[in-house]
Symmetry: none
Subunit: 76 residues, 5 copies
């Protein structure tokens, strides 16, 4: 029986892959709507960019957490 | 039989990965629409930011809950 | 029993596949809204393109991270 | 017991399948919003098309990477 | 034990199924926004149709690639 030699890999890679779906779409939404907001109110660029970066950070954080969780769960 | 040595990892990582999809998209929606609302009504910035942060907290909470649940389930 | 010979492949390929979903949609959102913002405010092209590229980089990064993570997890 | 003879195939095909979801939607978003931007500002056609192609390339790249990754992971 | 007799089929079909999700939505976005753009600027029909077909080709390509990949992976 040679099951192992054929189906290989680390399933934690799937965990990160799933965790990256949402933030990937989320960052697109923040920046997509963000550039339209800047185009509408160019004089508010500083304030709008600040809010865009804030949204980016919270969304990106979810993916980064997904990156380190497999290591954390392994240590427990 | 060497099944274990090839397909490795902790499936709890998949659980967090799934939990991060929704909040990732949700945060993007909150901030994306949020910056457009700020651009449309700049004088309401304080109130709008307050609501954006409120939406962020509830969405982010879902991912954070997904982060600690594997530990809770293990302790039970 | 010949299970192995039939179902083959590396599950880490699924991890990358998942990680590419979000950024793929995200890049589409950034550029889609971006070209509309440029069409609305052509004179702000430099500033808007800068923000579009910024959004692109953060979204694309999530997919690239998904590309190298299987190698990182394997080394641990 | 004859498990193997029934469920066959290479799981890496699933990896590419997943990797094609995001860019597929993303390209649609870029061109969909793109043609509307061109309709709004026909005289900016050259500049807008350039940005549309740029977004297309970065989104399509994610799917193409997903195409070759199974081969790369296999060689490791 | 008769596990095998119950769950049958080739998992590569799942790969193509997943690969068809994104382009399916993407083509819908291109044509959906496209007909709206044509309705807004009827005199630009030739140019807009050209861009719509271009977007269609790149999105459709991702699904067609998913169609032939299982054969390619099998030959390796």
């Amino acid at each position: 029986m040679s099951l192992a030699a054929q189906l290989t890999g680390d399933v934690t890679a799937i965990g990160y892959g799933l965790a990256a779906i949402g933030p990937g779409i989320g960052i697109g939404l923040v920046f997509g709507h963000g550039v339209q907001a800047i185009a509408r109110q160019p004089e508010m660029f500083q304030l709008l960019r600040q809010q865009i970066i804030l949204g980016l950070v919270f969304a990106e954080a979810l993916a980064i957490i997904g990156l380190v969780m497999p290591i954390v769960y392994k240590k427990m």
